[in-house]
Symmetry: C2
Subunit: 233 residues, 2 copies
């Protein structure tokens, strides 16, 4: 793409708006009773060898969301997940290479969609606990924290937890999702009452068996698409 509209004379090319655009993806999942985030090890400078959010430069004909999905897939092998735009970071010095503006995306996936290592670029993609992770490249820590707050807020008034769970799950399992995200315990009876009266779930006629305790009823989400509620918790 050429400089299509330079506003002033040739020397004073200050307002041309030129920049490079990337997307970076903060993708959360739950594994081993922890809220985790997917990071990739950088192969090139700057920040070579450091862990960073998956992401990369837009192509000429892609939407921003398409870039995010493509980069996520190329770098980590993950696809078909819930994805929404988070925030755009454009501080002039955020990338040592020059003016790089990043449209950050927020993503959620159940653990079974996070089968890494299956894919090409996935050798250096790994899940890390949100509470304990390596130092990140660029301003990715700031982006991650913003994504975490988005998650903590949004599960209050949406049905987004479907995107972190398998098709069938017990009430204790969905409660654990909320507790991990909020990093606090909630009351079991009140949680169940609320969750069931919201009407988002349908009971299945199966149970989670084989564990060393009373079998738990399984439930599924009625709809696995984004639903916003008037109020939630």
């Amino acid at each position: 793409m050429k400089n299509s509209k330079v506003t002033k004379t040739k020397k004073e090319h200050i307002n041309t708006g030129n920049a490079k655009i990337t997307t970076d993806i903060v993708i959360f999942t739950i594994e081993d009773g922890e809220l985790k985030i997917l990071l990739v090890k950088r192969k090139y400078e700057p920040f070579k060898g450091r862990w960073a959010l998956p992401g990369g430069f837009i192509k000429e004909v892609e939407t921003l969301e398409e870039t995010a999905r493509r980069e996520l897939s190329e770098e980590t092998g993950v696809s078909g997940v819930y994805l929404e735009q988070l925030y755009t970071f454009g501080e002039p010095k955020r990338d040592p290479r020059g003016r790089v503006v990043t449209a950050a995306y927020f993503a959620l996936a159940p653990k079974h969609l996070m089968s890494l290592s299956a894919s090409s670029g996935a050798e250096d993609a790994k899940l890390f606990s949100v509470k304990k992770h390596p130092e990140l490249a660029f301003d990715h820590e700031k982006i991650m924290q913003k994504a975490l707050h988005r998650l903590q807020n949004k599960i209050q008034y949406t049905n987004l937890s479907w995107s972190l769970l398998p098709n069938a799950f017990t009430l204790s399992e969905i409660q654990a999702v909320y507790e991990l995200i909020w990093d606090k315990k909630v009351d079991k009876r009140n949680f169940r009452k609320k969750m069931l009266t919201l009407g988002l779930l349908k009971p299945l006629s199966k149970e989670r068996t084989g564990l060393r305790q009373r079998p738990a009823k399984l439930y599924a989400f009625k709809t696995k698409t984004y639903v916003e509620l008037r109020r939630f918790f």
Copy 2:
């Protein structure tokens, strides 16, 4: 800025991420009992002569928010208002000049900060009713609708209405702000009860007089900075 990381061979420069960045600002105010939006008439192609959101290209060393404030000031003479990032629009064909990604901003101002025509670039800046406005350039209608939803949601759980009101106002006046934004009436007694128990307001020892009715007590916001509430309406 050079092409610092070209992923493939030289001919196939597809992933370079090059684009131009703009910010566009959706700024709301209340005038004559209507929720209004500030638009500027375009002086150049494309969409020459059409009304559009104020905005423009980033400078090399500006943050995105600085660009938004500068463009708003240059094009409309408005400054010192509440401003937050809204969403970033990057569809490849949204601008006929080429790849232009816009970081849209959301702004609110009390009417007295909207004294247009005082400024240089303000000849072609005008307020229009949100419910009835001219056809907009680019994808600005979509951006405006997104901003309106943000506003409708955010006044539920923040103290943002301070940024649409003068320093002193009556309870009827702040109620009118909510009614205009939500485009529906609310119950007067319940509204006052809620608003006062929230503790955001302090009563002033003055009244709104000179009108042909009983004088109304004046109130002010305790803090005129962004406060998020657990719940609101």
